[in-house]
């Protein structure tokens, strides 16, 4: 008896669509006269296989019995989205502000987000913790990697720092 799709089905559908799209792109790849196997040979096998497997997942999900989960755990997706957004912003700012400034800003923001200083930690003390963690992380990682391990970290285009 067909039912509505579950997350497996939606996952299978998304992967099927993506693999068919990429498969179509491989048809534009031109074979070389120098070698018997063109650049599209292996991608077509992989993408065709992926399409078949995701179709299997989709069909299996469509015809399988779905059981209602008894109790759904309350998960904080807002916090996850904000963490990703903060990290995305960090990645965007790194080439402009440089490693030290953007890392200090990111660590402060992420720490304040995960453990807000105003809630339960006694305001000013919490902000001091946030500031200390941010500055220490930026300073120590820069010192260890650039000075002792010869690993170059990004310099800021705007700050040259």
């Amino acid at each position: 008896m067909p039912r509505a799709l579950s997350r497996d089905g939606w996952g299978g559908l998304a992967i099927l669509a993506a693999s068919l799209f990429l498969f179509a792109l491989t048809l534009e790849l031109k074979d070389s006269p120098l070698v018997p196997i063109g650049p599209g040979f292996y991608p077509r096998i992989v993408l065709g296989l992926t399409a078949l497997l995701s179709l299997w997942l989709l069909i299996f999900d469509f015809y399988s019995k779905k059981t209602e989960s008894k109790e759904k755990e309350q998960l904080n997706y807002r916090l996850v989205a904000l963490m990703f957004a903060q990290f995305g912003l960090y990645c965007a700012l790194l080439p402009f502000l440089g490693f030290r400034i953007s890392t200090a800003l990111y660590v402060a923001a992420a720490n304040a987000l995960l453990d807000p200083p105003v809630r339960g930690k006694g305001g000013a003390k919490g902000w001091v913790r946030v500031l200390l963690l941010a500055l220490l992380t930026a300073f120590l990682t820069h010192l260890v990697f650039e000075r002792y391990l010869s690993v170059l970290l990004p310099r800021g285009r705007w700050t040259d720092f």
């Binding site: 790849l29 650049p39 990290f87 080439p95 660590v107 992420a110 720490n111 995960l114 453990d115």
Partner: protein, 507 residues
């Protein structure tokens, strides 16, 4: 072999190698003891620190993390009932009840000593088999390598806990990552989607770091700010004093249990990407089945602790065999090690041990010495390890993500790897939410290139596709792949039938 091992041990005992090995082991013990921080995460954090080191220094640090992490995980398992890592889950079943019965020191040290014995027995296997297995692999042509990589991928996809279809789809998705960029024969651009960053292909390390770090951190973050945060208060007044001779006798008086659990750990370690979490559960289950008093399991019996802990440390040796003999990572931790080797320009695989004998035997030695260092750390410091569960995750996670960023950036000193890290962080978290296993995905990313290269090499050498089946080793490996998938299908059907029967019985 013994001469080379002796030289390796003498080499690793030099100050310049011993320091990174000790620091790695210490970080591993701490990371292993921290609930919610896996060994994979710990080794990802350590990775950027190894870039500026010599290959053996870096690998010694990583082996230290691996061995230390496997042992460190049992501390919170035994004393708090919270497994420090997935491969210490079974230790909790008997370690924590034994602690609650008033024997926390016995529970803890039974686990630590069993880890040491299991690990050292694993070392015998590691040293004795890696060379011969690599010599067998040297006989392989492209057909055999293709079949071997396909076998590895099919086994991983089939043995993961999620559905077989999801395991296979995850593996295929990993392989898709490797087809973006240049083709390996003519270097022609393919499937770059007009994104210049994709033209050179995607390095597997930022993918691996992104997938594992974000999947784990975000899975913890989504539980923050709610009722999940409460951690049982640690009783620091608890006495951990114990007679070590008595504990050692208690373990050695059960030789079959120790050997069988070690064997299980080794076999699971050799199989690609299954890892210690399966090894400790399987060894625990076997110990219970072979026991004269299975009813005592779960109430604080020493057999449960010995089985679980000896198997998860032996698992490390098994994983190292696979990566050193075949270049196939046994799990995510060895996948990071593979990346570290690549960064230093060292090719893993069958030629590794002959071309880099000093490095290979240095790694064996690091594995053996790391066990002694675990003891050196835990004998005086086991009580301090209890304090680390107090480290707030709000402090830990931003710092870990900064280290991941450094790890990705430093691979080529370009921001593109940082963007790959972020993109695959989203992919990894999405995969977890949709229930796709990460292990086959990562193996697909690592082996995808090699599968393509060997497939093309085989066809360009001889266009007859039947050679994949008619060459004895290649044919056997492909038959094993099919058998592995068949077994997985049968196993999943059996589990589903059991679940249906259970639901009907409940009803």
């Amino acid at each position: 072999m013994f001469e080379l091992l002796g030289a390796g041990i003498a080499n690793i005992l030099q100050f310049k190698y011993l320091v990174p090995l000790f620091v790695g082991t210490l970080i591993g013990v701490v990371g292993g003891a921290l609930p919610g921080i896996t060994i994979t995460m710990t080794i990802i954090v350590v990775l950027p620190f190894t870039f500026g080191l010599e290959p053996l220094q870096g690998l010694a640090a990583m082996i230290g993390v691996y061995v230390g992490g496997e042992t460190g995980g049992l501390i919170t398992s035994c004393l708090l009932g919270i497994p420090g890592k997935p491969s210490a889950v079974a230790t909790t079943f008997d370690g924590f009840p034994m602690s609650k019965k008033g024997e926390p020191g016995r529970a803890l040290w039974l686990g630590i000593w069993a880890s040491i014995f299991g690990g050292l027995l694993g070392a015998v296997f590691l040293v004795a088999t890696t060379g011969p297995l690599a010599r067998i692999a040297l006989q392989f042509g492209p057909w055999e390598f293709f079949a071997l990589f396909v076998l590895a991928l099919s086994m991983v996809a089939g043995l993961v806990e999620a559905s077989l279809a999801k395991g296979l789809v995850a593996g295929a998705l990993g392989m898709i990552v490797t087809i973006l960029g240049n083709d390996p024969v003519m270097g022609q651009k393919r499937l770059t989607l007009g994104i210049p960053m994709l033209e050179g292909g995607i390095d597997f390390l930022p993918v691996l770091i992104g997938v594992f770090a974000f999947a784990q951190i975000m899975s913890e973050v989504e539980r923050m700010g709610g009722a999940h945060q409460a951690i049982e208060a640690v009783d620091r007044g608890v006495t951990l004093a114990v007679s070590h001779m008595k504990v050692i006798r208690e373990i050695l008086s059960r030789p079959f249990l120790l050997l069988w659990s070690t064997f299980i750990g080794l076999v699971i370690g050799v199989l690609p990407a299954i890892g210690g979490s399966a090894a400790n559960m399987l060894a625990y289950d076997q110990a219970k089945k072979f026991s004269r008093h299975p009813e005592k399991f779960g109430t604080g019996t020493p057999e449960g602790i010995i089985a679980s802990e000896s198997s998860n440390n032996a698992n490390v040796a098994g994983s190292l065999v696979t990566i050193m003999a075949f270049g196939i990572p046994g799990d995510a931790v060895t996948a990071v090690m593979l990346g570290a080797l690549t960064i230093h320009g060292i090719q893993s695989g069958p030629l590794f041990i002959t071309q880099n004998a000093t490095l290979a035997y240095g790694m064996f030695a690091a594995y053996i010495v790391a066990h002694a260092l675990v003891l050196a750390i835990l004998l005086p410091g086991v009580r301090w390890m209890l304090c680390i569960v107090d480290i707030p995750k709000a402090t830990l996670f931003p710092v870990v993500l900064v280290l991941c960023t450094i790890g990705a950036y430093a691979l080529s000193n370009t921001m593109s790897n940082v963007y790959v890290l972020l993109a695959f962080g989203l992919v990894g978290y999405g995969m977890v939410k949709f229930g796709f296993p990460l292990a086959p995905f990562i193996l697909g990313v690592i082996l995808g290139d090699q599968i393509e290269i060997n497939l093309i090499r085989a066809i360009m050498t001889d266009s007859d596709p039947w050679l994949f089946l008619t060459r004895p080793i290649s044919g056997s490996l492909i038959a094993l792949s099919v058998a592995s998938l068949g077994f997985s299908i049968w196993q999943h059907h059996r589990q589903r039938a059991k679940a249906v029967a259970h639901v009907e019985a409940d009803f």
